[in-house]
Subunit: 318 residues, 2 copies
């Protein structure tokens, strides 16, 4: 099923109704110490507490449960070594179909084990983009599974939009919502929800200086690919897609970039003070506050903590 | 003001009403993966999200706000190098009085900085129990501050009881509530709340094998002091007091002990799967499940995660 329409308000609401039984309604946390520190009101939407530890499960669930039985009967397939691999595996398991995950052969064992825990079947390939795509094509041909793109897909975008939708329904009159940007699935979903359901709210996207392709793309007015970025925020290394970029271009108020140092500092500070675990890709939004990247004083700000999957054996400040 | 009565139901309710404006109502979290893993229903009362990162703030707030103005006008004093030092400092600050904290001169800088952040005034002493007590006596004499004991005090016990009180009010029909035991403030409060407000619920206490003085005391029928225990659960090294022990003896269903290895494993597993930070002293309750220390199958179990203060530079699994 090809979905050719940018999700409208009704599409987001129906995505939410569809996935609600399967997802966690994640909490919105506050921290009075951080409010004092930044002189603003912060509301943290903790997708780190989502199933599989990241917002990706929302989109995967929407994609998987939107498909009719006869379309999905042979399962789903994707290439990912990150949170989407786990998300699609679990969503497929909930639907009762197979998930084929193409992963580079040098993926950390902790990631492949997590995918297997959620019931995904892994097909390893040599670690090049070329090999990923060829292997995926072979898998799809052999199994008749449906390819689900991790972010460049309107069903995925509508699913990711539900995080912001929940946030807006719980916390009113937000001046700003801040979200990280990698491939743009979460950001474009956030932009659409803010646009339809809280139009006075500005959305500010955050990305690492060392993977500033979204910032560059916005400036150039066309997609500038991310070329071998070397950031600790491993979920934000991907390039924008032709479905996510137009939404971002249309609706984003600003894209700001943050240093690696600030990402690590932000992550550690959130762990220490809020006692919650967020991953580096989630910490970019907090890093933007630390580096004073936009006018936040006196504002009500929603921060989307996108995920909490971290290898506890390798912490960036150690 | 000397409070000579074991707190009754009314005392716990009035403690709760008194401290409610100052404390966080901490969330009760669940984790479907752990429910499957242990074949029971677990409800985690996360005092790690309490102000100062530990349940200790409840008792400190009750003690500080119970005193009439003329009694507390010269402030409060205690000796502690742990969570209670921070808790009393912040409670005193909220009341607008001074807090004098006697700390051993070899306390980690991270702890003394935290106390100062919360407005406490630190008086360092040589790191012996003798010096602590002498120095505290001197401070009290000089300042006329009121000494507040970290746990052997009925106001403190009534304050700590409110964590379990909240848990019981939110989650009904718990078969078991499990809490760590150090000096016994949290445990005796938990026992009283369970007794008054959910009498069918059994309370099971957990402590490190290497600091098993509560287990020994229960067996001996009298307080066996904790002598230089060497456990990673640094909040559980203290001995029981003459106010906490009788309550424990009367009401506890069981005290179980856990290995250091299980404490570290429990802590890491909770971080990884629940994405929350708990300290080793909090992890003993989860370690008891890992080591299968009591009959938990098919039961509804409340687990009190007592705190989340951890030095992120020194993680026990690194």
């Amino acid at each position: 099923m090809i979905n050719t329409q940018i999700p409208d308000a009704a599409a987001i609401i129906s995505a939410y109704d569809l996935i609600k039984p399967y997802i966690n309604r994640t909490p919105v946390l506050t921290c009075s110490m951080f409010n004092r520190m930044f002189d603003c009101e912060l509301f943290f939407k903790c997708e780190s507490f989502q199933k599989v530890g990241a917002f990706k499960y929302r989109g995967a669930t929407n994609a998987v449960f939107s498909m009719p039985d006869n379309e999905i009967k042979n399962g789903v397939a994707t290439h990912s070594s990150g949170n989407f691999a786990q998300a699609l595996s679990l969503a497929a398991k909930m639907r009762g179909v197979k998930a084929y995950i193409v992963m580079p052969s040098n993926s950390p064992k902790v990631k492949s084990n997590a995918v297997r825990d959620y019931g995904g079947e892994i097909i390893f390939c040599t670690p090049t983009l070329q090999a990923r795509e060829t292997t995926l094509a072979e898998v799809v041909e052999k199994t008749n599974a449906v390819f689900v793109h991790p972010y460049n897909d309107y069903k995925i975008i509508a699913g990711q939009a539900t995080a912001c939708y929940e946030l807006i329904n719980e916390i009113n009159k937000l001046d700003i919502i801040s979200a990280p940007v990698g491939g743009g699935g979460l950001l474009s979903g956030t932009l659409l929800s803010a646009h339809y359901f809280s139009s006075a709210t500005k959305v500010i996207a955050c990305e690492p200086e060392l993977a500033n392709d979204a910032w560059q793309s916005l400036k150039a007015g066309k997609i500038i690919p991310s070329v071998n970025p070397n950031t600790i925020a491993d979920g934000l290394k991907t390039s924008l897609g032709d479905k996510t970029f137009p939404i971002i271009k249309e609706y984003v108020a600003e894209i700001v970039t943050v240093s690696e140092k600030a990402i690590v500092e932000a992550m550690k500070l959130v762990w220490e003070r809020m006692k919650i675990i967020i991953e580096p890709s989630a910490a970019v939004t907090f890093a933007a506050l630390l580096e004073n990247k936009y006018d936040h004083k006196g504002k009500r700000i929603g921060i989307i903590f996108s995920g909490g999957n971290v290898d506890l054996e390798k912490l960036p400040w150690m």
